[in-house]
């Protein structure tokens, strides 16, 4: 385990440098002069040079990059936004990160809690109507992207509201009811995929010899399914969690924009439109780093859970 962790640690350092470097270079290669945009019609050489110095834009690019990384590591300071009277990026994104994190993790948890049992259920009733029905439903849910599912759900919701039935709010963030639609939509696709994945691995495990032995010994069917077969069948699910988190990022961006949720995706897209590149860089780096760390956690979890990996 130690050798694995050391190797992964160096890989992590490399990835962190690569992510910050690429993001920084792209953000600073943006055409146009952000200071001029900021000053607008109130151009004044003294203020201009003062702002250039404030944003460290007068230094060579590599020096800027070095300072940028050092400030992030030492002070968690991502620089200052071009908008909002030069507030620090952390102030702009600070409130957004918990929202996005909540949305993403809730969606993942919901997807696992719904998808895995459905997959087990389908595997235990293989090729019977329940299985075929759930597999058809999951295929549709899985291939339809979230922004096709959202208008359908919203239409139903609006119809419910217009006809007086209880309905869910369709925008903004704060109450539990406002969280249901966005998190539900995000979870749906992943739940469908997890259901199919669990079903496949479960079917494979249920045909193994050790299951047949357990049944031959007289253990009841439900006990065999839940206690013997489940653990090896869940390993691919843990492997999938890493890529799932990566896919959730794009989904969260889209959902935040459609439902007006004050998260990192919403802030990032608005900052892109406002050409507020420090915020965009900060958002990209924060999200990428969080995802990389969660992937690492998922890998470690997999190594702990899989008894076939010898230490």
């Amino acid at each position: 385990m130690l050798a694995f962790l050391v190797r992964r640690f160096f890989g992590l350092i490399f990835v962190l440098f690569a992510v910050t470097f690429l993001t920084f270079i792209i953000g600073h290669a943006a055409p146009g002069d952000p200071i001029q945009n900021m000053l607008g019609v109130r151009q004044d050489p003294a203020t201009y040079h003062r702002l250039i110095h404030f944003y460290h834009l007068d230094q060579p690019v590599l020096v800027q990059y070095g300072n940028y990384v050092w400030r992030i590591v030492r002070y968690l300071d991502f620089g200052n936004s071009f908008q909002y009277n030069s507030r620090p990026v952390t102030a702009v994104l600070g409130g957004a990160l918990p929202v996005t994190f909540t949305i993403g993790m809730s969606a993942l948890a919901l997807a696992t809690l719904v998808g895995v049992p459905v997959g087990i259920y389908a595997a235990a009733r293989q090729n019977r109507p329940a299985d075929r029905l759930s597999m058809a439903a999951t295929l549709i849910l899985y291939s339809v992207p979230s922004f096709v599912l959202i208008p359908i759900l919203l239409t139903i919701d609006i119809w419910l509201e217009q006809n007086g039935y209880p309905s869910l709010p369709v925008a903004n963030w704060g109450t539990v009811q406002q969280a249901v639609l966005p998190i539900g939509v995000l979870a749906a696709g992943n739940a469908a995929y997890l259901a199919r994945l669990t079903r496949t691995t479960m079917i494979g495990t249920l045909h193994e010899d050790f299951i047949r032995t357990a049944r031959a010994k007289g253990l009841p069917r439900w006990r065999v399914v839940y206690f013997q077969a489940l653990r090896p069948a869940l390993l691919p699910v843990v492997t999938y969690l890493g890529p799932a988190i990566g896919g959730l990022v794009t989904g969260t961006f889209v959902v935040e924009n459609i439902f007006n949720l004050p998260g990192v995706g919403f802030a990032a897209v608005n900052s892109i439109e406002a050409r507020d590149y420090p915020v965009v860089e900060g958002a990209t780096i924060i999200v990428a780093v969080v995802v990389v760390l969660m992937n690492l956690l998922a890998d470690i979890l997999y190594r702990i859970l899989d008894p076939r990996i010898q230490e």
Binding site: I26, P31, V148, V249
Partner: protein, 282 residues
Amino acid sequence: MYASSRVSLVALCTLAALALTAIVGPQVYGQSATSADIFNLNPDSWPSASHLLGTDKDGIDILARLMMGLRVSLGVALFVEVLNVLLGVPIGLAAGYFGGAIDFVLSRVADALFAFPGLLLAILVAGVFGPSVGDAWGGLGRLALVTASLALVSWPLMARYVRAEVLSLRERDYVEAARAIGASTPRILLVHIAPNILGLVLTVTTLDMASQVVNEAALSLLGLGVQPPHASIGLMISNAIGVLNINWTESLFPGLALTAMVLSFSFVGDGLREAFDPRTRA
């Protein structure tokens, strides 16, 4: 062989029909996709005789916009795959065949790009360079930018697949035999290895096109792809969500078109994978 699966055939026909609609449709269908009839302005109208699928919030015909959007989606997906193949296949070949330092450097580059989750890097690139590219080269420029940014984040996957296949192929007997009789390295790569990865490349390309169609729609939905008055499926859905209480069919048709494209590409890709899989061949 490919034709043995009915679903794959149906998917292929659907894809051909969509492509045909995208190419010929805008010429055949009378309504304009970018301007409304300002003397008979009828925004958000339901399907009617003159506007077969209704109109959007600006009074522009939805079917016309949908066909232009199909052009954009299929075109972007196709060119992203072309770039993927042009970038990913040679890099995967080099990394897999030569190994050593070349493999190390190329794999690190691919890993650096892989580290960005999902479309994050594509969003960054399209967002940062979008306005200036749009000013300099117009709508076509923004399309090219979307294509480039999507290709940037997806070539590492192709390179990884190719590299894995080449790693196993270079140990085959016929490669060793070719080396033994003194074949030059370019010849081995071109004559012996490349033809055998063709099946894999074709399958991965088709399956990836399904994702690229969705990715392009996502970028347009966020406002980073083609801009109004041009049409794109993501842009249409984004506009339609705002007027769902007035006319819900506006979001239905682009959504159906997108789903049709995704499912068709997926099933065609599955059919190709089964056709090329040596284990299921007759």
